[in-house]
Amino acid sequence: MSNNYEPKIIAFCCRYCAYTAADLAGSMRLEYPSNIRVVQLLCTGRIDVLHVLKAFEQGADAVYVAGCEPGDCHFLEGNYRAVKRIAYAKNLLKEIGLEPERLEFFHIGASEGPRFAEAAKEMTDRALKLGPNPLRKKQGE
């Protein structure tokens, strides 16, 4: 592992909850690792296994999807669907030979700024512990 390894982490966030929580974390002046690249989704029900695989293929060290609390989905069940898809995608990562721990789903309500910061920290810690995604060509790519 290179000494200056800075994990690159993709966070797919629902605009109704986790994305708003990210805004709140900012307003609350909470610190969280700057390794997170947020991709806003209208609902985590939009997430596709292929989005996750492409992120890893392009060298992401970790990927997570953050959606509403159970029962709170703006579109009723998008977050439940996303949970299942992430479980499925974890199996694909195992098939490929990547650690499934590089991928996770979090329930983060719109009012949970601190929870957003915690999730960002947890995934950064995981990525640091697991080391760089072996598909990543070199730092900075």
Partner: protein, 222 residues
């Protein structure tokens, strides 16, 4: 529709081991609807194979495409150029598509990425069940629309057998007893007397036991 399951990745890797340029071809009809080998699944497998190639230093070059139907020549022929560029073709269609692509381009090896399993229906989101065995001599009139060939584990024409257990099959407790379903359906329609009719032993020549089947309509031929 025809239903299938993607083969285990280890089997796919082993098949592809001797090749470099791999063309992955999906099918946009049945196998796409059963979420096994359509455009999306081709994208997923292609992405997986690209990552495996990188991780295991396999030097594969994966290209991907999906056509409307792999069981019809006019959809396959436009792939000529892509076939020529590939060392091998891996199909995500049912067994029909895999074979027919190899027939249309006999100079190319076409490998299966899918195990074709049955003719079935999508009973609910994410679940497909077998309904027809393609036996060539339909008896659904005698069983009120529930097939004893495809849905009775023993293929009994006069059931149920002693293994029926509160509507379930002794072969697998998750399976409905087809003859229990048939009985209930006859009862609902006030046709229980149909059970008195013995369905005689049939010829299985119309099924695979008479060899591969074909259908000819002379009026449609040139």
């Amino acid at each position: 529709m025809i239903v299938g399951d993607r083969k285990p990745i280890e089997e796919i890797k082993e098949m592809l081991a001797p090749y470099k340029k791999i063309l992955l071809v999906g099918c946009g009809t049945c196998i796409s609807v059963c979420m096994t080998g359509g455009e999306k699944e081709v994208g997923i497998l292609a992405s997986e194979l690209r990552m495996i190639s990188e991780l295991e230093k396999k030097d594969w070059e994966i290209s991907e495409t999906t056509i409307q139907r792999q069981c019809e020549r006019e959809y396959i022929e436009p792939l000529k150029e892509q076939f020529e560029k590939a060392d091998v073709v891996m199909s995500m269609a049912c067994g029909v598509g895999i074979q027919y692509m190899a027939e249309v381009f006999p100079e190319k090896i076409v490998l299966p990425a899918v195990n074709t399993t049955f003719y079935g229906t999508n009973v609910k989101e994410g679940e497909w069940q077998e309904r027809c065995a393609g036996c060539g001599d339909c008896v659904l009139d005698k069983t009120l629309g529930i097939c004893p060939v495809a849905r009775c584990s023993k293929g009994l024409y006069n059931g149920p057998c002693g293994g029926t257990d509160n509507g379930k099959c002794e072969v697998n407790k998750d399976l409905d007893c087809a003859w229990y379903l048939i009985y209930n359906r006859m009862k609902e329609h006030g046709k229980l007397d149909m059970l008195d009719e013995i369905i005689p032993a049939r010829s299985w020549k119309t099924s695979l036991h008479g060899g591969p089947r074909k259908r000819v309509r002379e009026d449609a031929q040139k």
